[in-house]
């Protein structure tokens, strides 16, 4: 029978490294998705995702289960990504600047060339539009998109109220619509 996240956390707290490996296996892709949504490129996102799990491993003994494991790990991920972006602004040479190829459609055979070009343009412009949002607005839209999290869970993850989540989401969507109107 598959153990719940909390049962795995308890095993980790007792020093079971295999249990931590199982948690990483469950969440590594989603954590990477959240961070990639907040950052500019794959290499930096991968680096921050790995750092997120290292930080989680160090802190797991202090995790009391007051929230679910996934809101806890996403909180670490979002904070790490925002910290990394601040560092990126201070020391731009330490990070990968290129966004070439990011989010391009991979290995897909175009059925309709026009639709393929249109889709590609939408994707490219969406990446730009998302990157123009503030970190707080990016975070709500990414968490909602990746995990389909409720406003309550997003609020827990980001340390704000449900009302704030709702207004940030509304603003972020409005901005995206304005910037992508020509491609929607």
């Amino acid at each position: 029978m598959e153990l719940s996240d909390w049962q795995l956390v308890e095993k980790c707290q007792a020093g079971d490294a295999d249990a931590f490996q199982e948690l990483v296996s469950r969440y590594h892709q989603k954590v990477y998705m959240v961070i990639l949504g907040l950052m500019r490129n794959r290499e930096d996102a991968l680096e921050v995702a790995q750092e997120t799990f290292l930080r989680a491993y160090r802190k797991i003994k202090s995790f009391q289960g007051g929230s679910s494991f996934y809101t806890w790990i996403y909180r670490i991920a979002v904070n790490n990504a925002i910290d990394a972006q601040r560092k990126q602004k201070r020391n731009p040479l330490d990070f990968h600047e290129s966004m070439d190829g990011l989010f391009e459609a991979r290995n897909e055979v175009a059925k309709d060339p026009f639709s393929d070009v249109h889709d590609r343009e939408l994707r490219e412009n969406m990446v730009k539009a998302i990157n123009e949002l503030t970190p707080e607005h990016k975070a709500v839209i990414v968490l909602r998109t990746v995990e389909g999290m409720s406003y309550k869970d997003i609020g827990e993850t980001l340390g704000c109220s449900e009302g704030t989540v709702m207004s940030r989401l509304h603003y972020a969507r409005k901005k995206l619509q304005e910037k992508l109107r020509a491609f929607l």
């Binding site: 020093g15 990483v24 990639l36 949504g37």
Partner: protein, 176 residues
């Protein structure tokens, strides 16, 4: 505020399943009958679906094994030296690895004790023996005396050593 403006502010929460059932039903009915709000609804859905697709395709490229190897390497680098020992001890004490560990430990302890004569309860433990090392009468004698902390190893040749039936009392063995 017109009804369209009110509904357009609620389309996001409605898509997210955050509205009460009655409010959600009101938004659904309006969206179905209003071209402008219907278009807003489709745009929001398209944004959500495209962004989800972009992220999901990207993350599917991340393989677990190399990802975990790197996380594990970072953990090992940052943890104190004794943590490795604790993990090793924990790993051998958990079933089924303990199946061999317990008998192995017993054998090691017994082996160690068999090599050492421990004085028990402060008793003096002297020891003497004579062993024949070949068929030509060569012998080795060992004497150990605890009180003086003396150990003597004596190699000698017994002139009658070839005769194994000789009475031991007549042997010209070592005299300590």
């Amino acid at each position: 505020m017109s009804q369209c403006e009110t509904v357009q502010q609620s389309i996001g929460p409605w898509l997210d399943g955050e509205l009460k059932v009655t409010d959600g039903e009101m938004v659904r009915r309006h969206v179905e009958g209003c071209p402008e709000c219907g278009a807003e609804h489709r745009r929001l859905e398209k944004i959500h679906a495209t962004f989800a697709d972009i992220l999901s395709k990207e993350s599917s490229q991340i393989e677990f094994a190399p990802f975990w190897r790197e996380v594990r390497r970072r953990i090992d680098e940052t943890q104190p030296w004794y943590q490795g020992l604790i993990e090793w001890a924990r790993s051998i004490s958990t079933s089924p690895r303990s199946a061999w560990a317990v008998p192995a430990a017993i054998v090691l302890v017994l082996g160690f004790l068999s090599l050492t004569k421990w004085p028990v309860g402060g008793q003096v433990n002297n020891y003497a023996s004579v062993e024949s090392i070949d068929t030509h009468g060569r012998n080795v004698a060992l004497l150990r005396e605890d009180e003086t902390k003396t150990t003597i190893i004596w190699l000698y040749q017994d002139s009658e050593g070839e005769n194994e039936n000789v009475d031991e009392t007549t042997n010209s063995g070592p005299a300590f």
